[in-house]
């Protein structure tokens, strides 16, 4: 070990936030030219540790040795100058500015008059985008991109800094397989040129595919570091969770009832055309497809967020008119949206209000006042049930780890006691333990006769959980298949890429 060259050595790092000790003296050593995974449950402190490293906030105690020097009290800009760049878990693009200005924000190329040289910026952007194999005009405004594309821009930006160490905090949580492959190609290229990458992800298969070593954290403590090939999956999970985890996809077959909802010829003027399908009571319908296939748009349209051009929705055989999410909720629907930050959480509001917001009607007394005690009780129940890690219900939700924010949203919608539940990437950013908790919850709901429509880019999740799988490609349904035991990922992918002929079910 002695001859190994470490580019980064973090020792005894402690980080406290008011009321929370997020890191209790942890270490991390990263070699030059390796891809190093950080693993651990939601709230283990991975993002916090990386924020310390990238200069987002100083550590309370401990030392950071980077590139042979002890580094103290630096900010993000100085970190970049040292050669550390970070792709954050929560994106923060400047929405109404073009891609190129987002990439070169704060370091715009200037002409000899000291004004921004847009032509040069454009050329440089084209080059960077080409490097990561992304086909977008640098002049496109960020708002027009999907979350996945925004994520790729973020990656382009990190690459453009030419840093010695790149931190990627859950970069793939919004990416589909194709883009993940693209990302991995870039990562391998970077590694070959001697750069180090710290990679955070909850997806075990990715970690095994791309990383060289794994460091595990639990509850703000350091558990250990192992070579990836020497560490079995069971052992890894054991290290992360500290206990055995139940089976990953605890799907149990439950009786399936009558048709609950029928969608007929739903059409959107831009994203999809002529979408028809049904969901039965007690059924889990998975929707698979590549990102951009229109899956999110379909369920957002059903839920009244987007406007449809034509088509109708029937619930229990009756046509319903849904023009807003309120109408949808009144029809006992619930929707866990894809983009947590944009349309999910209220960042500066409490965990309690974030959970209760949709549910106030049931918490009102006869004077129309909120029964706080009941709200607290129900929120507490959910915090326990799906293990939301928060110091109290009054904590601002933005101070929770990403995965725990997701759990707050899951609680919000389960509290409404919906009959039709739309889940858009329900376990995005959620650790293995909690994932299996959420999966059993979903199964349990189906067992109670609820209808569930689940969009997921993780094929194992779709195949592990669904009764039927609907596959979309470029705004059209290319297949609806029964989820048989012998169904293969390859077969699904042929539909998803539009290579199979249309089949109904």
């Amino acid at each position: 070990m002695a001859e190994e060259k470490y580019i980064l050595e973090m020792t005894d790092i402690v980080k406290t936030f008011p009321g929370v000790k997020a890191l209790k003296g942890v270490q991390l050593k990263v070699q030059a030219g390796e891809i190093h995974a950080l693993m651990g449950e939601n709230g283990a402190g991975k993002s916090t540790l990386m924020n310390c490293l990238a200069g987002v906030h100083g550590q309370t105690a401990g030392t950071i040795l980077f590139d042979g020097e002890v580094r103290e009290n630096y900010n993000t800009i100085q970190a970049l100058e040292m050669g550390i760049s970070m792709i954050h878990q929560e994106l923060s693009p400047v929405l109404h500015r073009p891609i190129m200005e987002n990439i070169w924000l704060g370091r715009e190329p200037l002409n000899r008059f000291g004004l921004v040289d847009h032509q040069k910026m454009y050329d440089m952007s084209v080059k960077v985008l080409k490097e990561i194999d992304l086909d977008e005009d640098p002049r496109t405004e960020m708002v027009n991109l999907t979350v996945a594309k925004m994520q790729m821009i973020e990656i382009a930006k990190a690459v453009s800094f030419d840093s010695k160490l790149i931190i990627m905090d859950e970069p793939t949580s919004a990416l589909a397989d194709k883009e993940v492959k693209q990302l991995f190609t870039i990562m391998r290229k970077l590694k070959e040129s001697g750069k180090s990458i710290i990679y955070i992800s909850h997806k075990l298969d990715e970690v095994y595919e791309i990383t060289d070593r794994i460091s595990v954290f639990r509850d703000g403590t350091y558990i250990g570091t192992e070579d990836t090939i020497k560490l079995s999956e069971d052992k890894l999970i054991q290290m992360m969770v500290g206990r055995e985890v139940n089976e990953l996809f605890p799907k149990v077959d439950c009786p399936i009832g009558d048709v609950k909802m029928e969608v007929k010829g739903l059409t959107h003027n831009r994203y999809f055309k002529d979408v028809s399908f049904t969901v039965k009571k007690g059924e889990i319908l998975g929707i698979a497809g590549l990102i951009g296939a229109g899956r999110t748009e379909v369920i957002e349209t059903i839920f009244g967020i987007r406007e449809k051009v034509s088509g109708e929705i029937l619930i229990d055989g009756k046509v319903v008119n849904i023009e807003s999410p309120r109408d949808a909720i009144a029809n006992h629907m619930a929707l866990l949206t894809e983009d947590r930050r944009q349309s999910g959480i209220f960042p500066m509001l409490s965990v309690r209000l974030n959970m209760a917001i949709t549910n106030f009607p049931k918490f009102l007394n006869k004077f129309g006042l909120i029964r706080d005690r009941d709200v607290k009780k129900e929120c507490d129940d959910y915090v326990k049930k799906i293990q939301v890690k928060t110091p109290s219900l009054n904590q601002r939700v933005e101070n929770l780890s990403g995965g725990n924010q997701q759990k707050v949203l899951v609680s919000r919608w389960l509290m409404t006691n919906p009959e039709i539940l739309f889940l858009d990437e329900p376990t995005r950013g959620i650790d293995v333990g909690a994932k299996s908790e959420i999966h059993s919850l979903i199964t349990q709901l189906a067992g109670e006769g609820k209808s569930i429509v689940m969009v997921s880019s993780e094929l194992p999740e779709v195949m592990g959980m669904s009764d039927r799988i609907m596959i979309m490609h470029e705004g059209r349904i290319t297949g609806i298949v029964e989820n048989r035991k012998d169904l293969t990922q390859e077969e699904l992918m042929t539909y998803a890429t539009g290579k199979a002929g249309k089949k109904g079910a």
């Binding site: 402690v14 967020i305 999410p325 309120r326 959480i345 500066m348 209760a356 009102l364 909120i370």
Partner: protein, 335 residues
């Protein structure tokens, strides 16, 4: 060693948090102590009620403003709406023998009706501002700026630019005292504080205001009726401006169409000093009360101390900015 250091840091983080949370109250207490050392008369019960009375009018407006700013909006029209509601109120509440009566043949009616009219005018104007924001999505700054000018214009048209005076005693009594020492404006103010606090903390309406300010898109998806909430918020803010007009008329005994110019800024200042954040989703009624009190104490104290009126303005400006700096530090997510 390092553990030791970190315990220290941890504790200091705790006390810092308390200071940040209640910093504004400390500012108020410090001001009170400072002023009363220099001028003991400041703490006489007469003067204390005086301060409270002085804060009542813009304090009431600040309560409504709190809802507005929590929802990430702003209402620049409340001063003008006060004037419009005020002239309508006054025109309906003149004594029978007033000279140059607005409605010469109008009999005196129970003061309840003119008051109701003032509240209705306020709520309507406010509600319209809200409707405009909800339906056209223009910024609150613009729509309320428009309303500010329109309402002032209506006030001038309605009154023909002249003050309306000789108001019935049942109205002017509202500017006086109960049992000879309890100022009625203060009583009205306190009642509205309680009502507003209940509305904000205990009703769906209040929670929706926080949600709209916190993340309007998420609010929509979560089933909050965003448009209705916006309209209600501005209507409530206007209603309180109408109520402020009642207190104003009671205290002054007449209403001028140019009255209350600039009051909107005082109300916004009070709300802001009290920690309500212009980035939305954050704020309390209690804060608006403390903020209004700080401004009133400042004005009253500086006057007692004989500070030049022009310098008072300079001081007030500085205090507002300092308060907002404290507020921003509190809301910073990073340390």
């Amino acid at each position: 060693m390092s553990a030791n250091k970190n315990i220290l840091k941890f504790e200091s983080a705790g006390s810092k948090e308390i200071l940040q949370k209640y910093g504004i109250v400390f500012v108020l207490i410090l001001m009170i102590i400072g002023i009363s050392i220099l001028e003991p008369a400041f703490l006489s019960s007469y003067n204390v009620f005086n301060v409270l009375t002085q804060s009542a009018i813009f304090g009431i407006m600040a309560l409504g403003m709190t809802f507005v700013i929590i929802s990430k909006g702003i209402d620049l029209s409340v001063g003008s709406v006060l004037a419009l509601a005020g002239v309508v109120l006054a025109s309906l509440a003149q004594t029978a023998d007033a000279t140059g009566k607005y409605f010469p043949n109008l009999a005196e009616m129970p003061v309840f009706f003119p008051i109701l009219a003032a509240l209705a005018v306020g709520a309507l104007m406010g509600g319209f501002t809200g409707l405009l924001i909800a339906k056209t999505h223009i910024p609150a700054f613009i729509s309320s700026l428009g309303m500010m000018t329109v309402a002032r214009g209506f006030a001038l048209i309605y009154s023909d630019g002249k003050p309306i005076s000789t108001l019935v005693p049942s109205l002017t009594r509202l500017g006086g005292k109960l049992f000879g020492f309890l100022p009625i404006p203060v009583i009205i103010y306190f009642i509205m504080i309680v009502i507003s606090a209940v509305l904000l903390n205990k009703t769906r309406f209040g929670k929706s205001a926080y949600a709209v300010g916190g993340n309007i898109k998420a609010a929509e998806v979560s089933g909050v009726n965003v448009n209705q909430t916006l309209i209600a918020i501005y209507a409530y803010c206007g209603l309180l401006a109408g109520l402020a007009a009642v207190v104003f008329a009671g205290r002054v005994g007449s209403v001028h169409p140019g009255a209350a110019t600039g009051y909107e800024l005082t109300a916004i200042a009070a709300t802001t000093i009290g920690g309500t954040s212009h980035s939305g989703g954050i704020g309390t009624i209690w804060g608006a009360f403390v903020g209004a009190l700080i401004l009133a104490v400042l004005r009253n104290g500086l006057t007692l101390l004989g500070v030049d009126a022009y310098w008072q303005q300079v001081t007030e400006g500085v205090i507002i900015v300092v308060a907002v700096i404290i507020d921003m530090r509190k809301n910073a997510t990073k340390d």
